[in-house]
Structure formats: C-alpha cells, structure tokens
Amino acid sequence: MPSLKALKNRIGSVKNTRKITKAMQMVAAAKLRRAQEAAEAARPFAERMTAVMSALAAGVGTGEGAPKLLAGNGKDQVHLLVVMTSERGLCGGFNSSIVKLARARALELSGQGRTVKILTVGKKGREQLKRDWSQAFVGHVDLTEVKRVGYANAQGVAREAMAAFEAGEVDVVTIFYNRFQSVIAQIPTMKQVIPATFEAAGSTALYDYEPSEEAILADLLPRAVATQIFTALLENGASEQGARMSAMDNATRNAGDMINKLTIQYNRSRQAAITKELIEIISGAEAL
C-alpha cells in the first residue's frame, strides 16, 4: 500500500500528463486542419496532371521508344521502397503501420530473390527499420526542419529516386505512406511510382500536342512522379496529425480514468488511516 504522500504525488503527476496530452491534441487538431487544407489545395493540380498523363500515356503506349520512366527498363530485379513516416513520435500506430506494410513487402520481395533497397523519409520509420533492414538503406530524406511540406521537398525525393532509376541502380520504385481517410482511419498504402502508372481517365478528348506528344510526355513524366510523391507527402502529413490527435485523445481519457482511480484509492487510504487512529484512541481509553 503506497503512502498517502506517494499517492498524492502520483495524482499530481498524472494530472500534469493529462494537461500535456490535452495540449498536444489541440495542437494536432489545428495542424490537422492546415494539413487537410494543403492536401485539398493540391488536389486540382494532381487531378489534372493525372488526367493529362493518362491520356498521353494511352496515346504513346508502353511499346518501343516510350520513355523509360513510363515503360520501365524491362527489369524487375531491384526494388526501391520509399518509406514515408513522420519526424516525431507520439502519434499512435501511425509509423508502425507503414513500417509493417513496408517490411512485409520487403520480405516478400527478398523471398522472391529480388534485391530490396530502402529510402526513408522521416526519421521515425528509419529508426524502426534499422533493426533488420539497415543493410538495405540507400538514403534518407530529412524533413525535420521543414514546417510545411512544399512541392520542392517532393521534388527532392523524386529527384533522388529518379537519379537512382536512371543510373540503373533500381528498376522499380514504390512509395509507402498513410492515406488519410478520417481522423480515426488512416490506411497504409503502397503505390508504384516508377515505372509510372496512371488510372485511366474516362473520356479522352482529342488534343493537339505542342511540341509533340512524346516531347511533352518526356517533359511531364518527372513532374508527374514528383506530383504523386507530393500528394503522398501531404496525405501522410494529414494522416500523421489525425493519428496524433486520436492517440492524444485516448491518452487524455486514460489519464482522466487513472486520476479517478487514484483519487478513490487516496480517499480510501485516508479514511482507513483516520479509522485506525480512532480505534487506537478508543482502545487506549478502554484500557484505562
């Protein structure tokens, strides 16, 4: 049985913890709104880009002479997994769920005799993958200093992946991120970006292309890859804040429960001490 003093200290410390988690939840809620707005604002560009790219890709096809970024380099040996996680912890299962998916994929690929390379974005995922995949690490993109993810950041990631592809170091690039569905649901997603895939658009209008279809495609492909990565980064940002918000909400509620339990225990102990004292006085008086 802990002493009354110890219990009181404990209650105080849990109360402080609750204050912190509550504050973190509020901050995450505010950041989530901003992240969602950013994701929303980026949507028109990504949608148009996909529409145009799928029209172009359908026109050019994946036969001879198609750009490598679209058709692939004909091999399927070396896979680069771009694992996007957060820079900060305390966001529930956010990072673990991405890492779990990436790890399963890496195991599957290496089971098939493929070579796996890993590029990490965000240090939390790197820490988790370090244990069994550190020999596969080829690079890391640090976004710790980045307050708001911009297109330039996505371009940086894309450039790194494309450079490796063009140098023939990797054949397939897949990104891993959490797709934002709601505050309580984030879906770990993997998406192949090189060779690029585009969902086919419903109707394709006939266009004149200036300069030529192929030239535009070659010009736009790197941008389309960067756009896909940018979208993933934004979704990931929103998911992170959503995950953190619900994790901190749970923590706040748990702290509240704990305070209640501890308070009851504290009151009981105090009552027991008082009763004991009374019994002692009475028995003392009776003994006289």
Partner: protein, 130 residues
C-alpha cells in the same frame, strides 16, 4: 461583350486563379500563343515566361517557370510548376531564379536545354522589368 473562356491557374500547392477570361497569352515551349474562345484543343508545355490573362477587370500577369497548359474550346488550365503574380515578384526573386537556372545549367549534361532555360529566364526578367 466578348465571349470568355474559363481560366484556371494551378500550382502544385494551390489554385492561384480561376475566373472567366477573354484571352490568355501563354508562353509555349514552341513560341507564344494566345487562346481565346473556340481554340482547338491543345496541350502545350511551357517555357519560363510571362502568362498574361485578359479578364473582365483588366490584364493580369503571372510569372511561370514551366509546366503545361491544357487548352479546350471553353477553357484554359495552366498547370505551372511555379507561378507568381507579377506584382508580387521582386527583382531579387527573379535574380534568384536566374541564378538557380545558371547553377543547374553548369551541371546539366544537356547543355542546349539548360542554356535555353537560362536564356528564357533572362528574357523573362527583361520582359518583367518593363
């Protein structure tokens, strides 16, 4: 009253403008072109330059650094990599763009394309200064 086309200017990060315009002057990769109502459907890539939009309340000018434009008979969407309204553009920022391009040109194996980008940017700086 001139007929109008729906003009959209979007950058990867946000939608910059969306309003009806009577004509849109686009710095295409193969040369400038002006899109008005009824223009044939065209997709063109952009070179760094000035994008001029004539709308109901005067002409708006944007500095774009690349991307592409999708022209249809009823609308023009410009998807720019970077787009800044001209009045928000400062000479210093323009100089920075040119410097970046020069830096990229120094390491770019495709000398022609890189030099062209630098030349385009310098032309744009000259045009923007007017």
């Amino acid at each position: 009253m001139a007929t109008t086309v729906q003009f959209d200017l979007v950058s990867p990060e946000r939608r910059l403008a969306s309003f009806p315009a009577t004509e849109v002057q686009i710095p295409g990769a193969m040369g400038d072109l002006t899109a008005m109502e009824g223009h044939a459907s065209t997709i063109t890539s952009l070179r760094p330059g000035l994008l001029k939009v004539v709308g109901a309340d005067g002409t708006k000018t944007y500095v774009v650094t690349g991307g592409f434009a999708e022209i249809s008979p009823t609308g023009v969407s410009v998807l720019a990599e970077q787009a800044v309204p001209l009045d928000e553009m400062t000479p210093a920022a323009l100089d920075a763009l040119v410097a970046d391009a020069c830096e990229a040109a120094a390491v770019n194996p495709d000398k022609d394309a890189a030099d062209k980008a630098v030349a385009d940017l310098q032309a744009m700086r000259a045009a923007a200064a007017v």
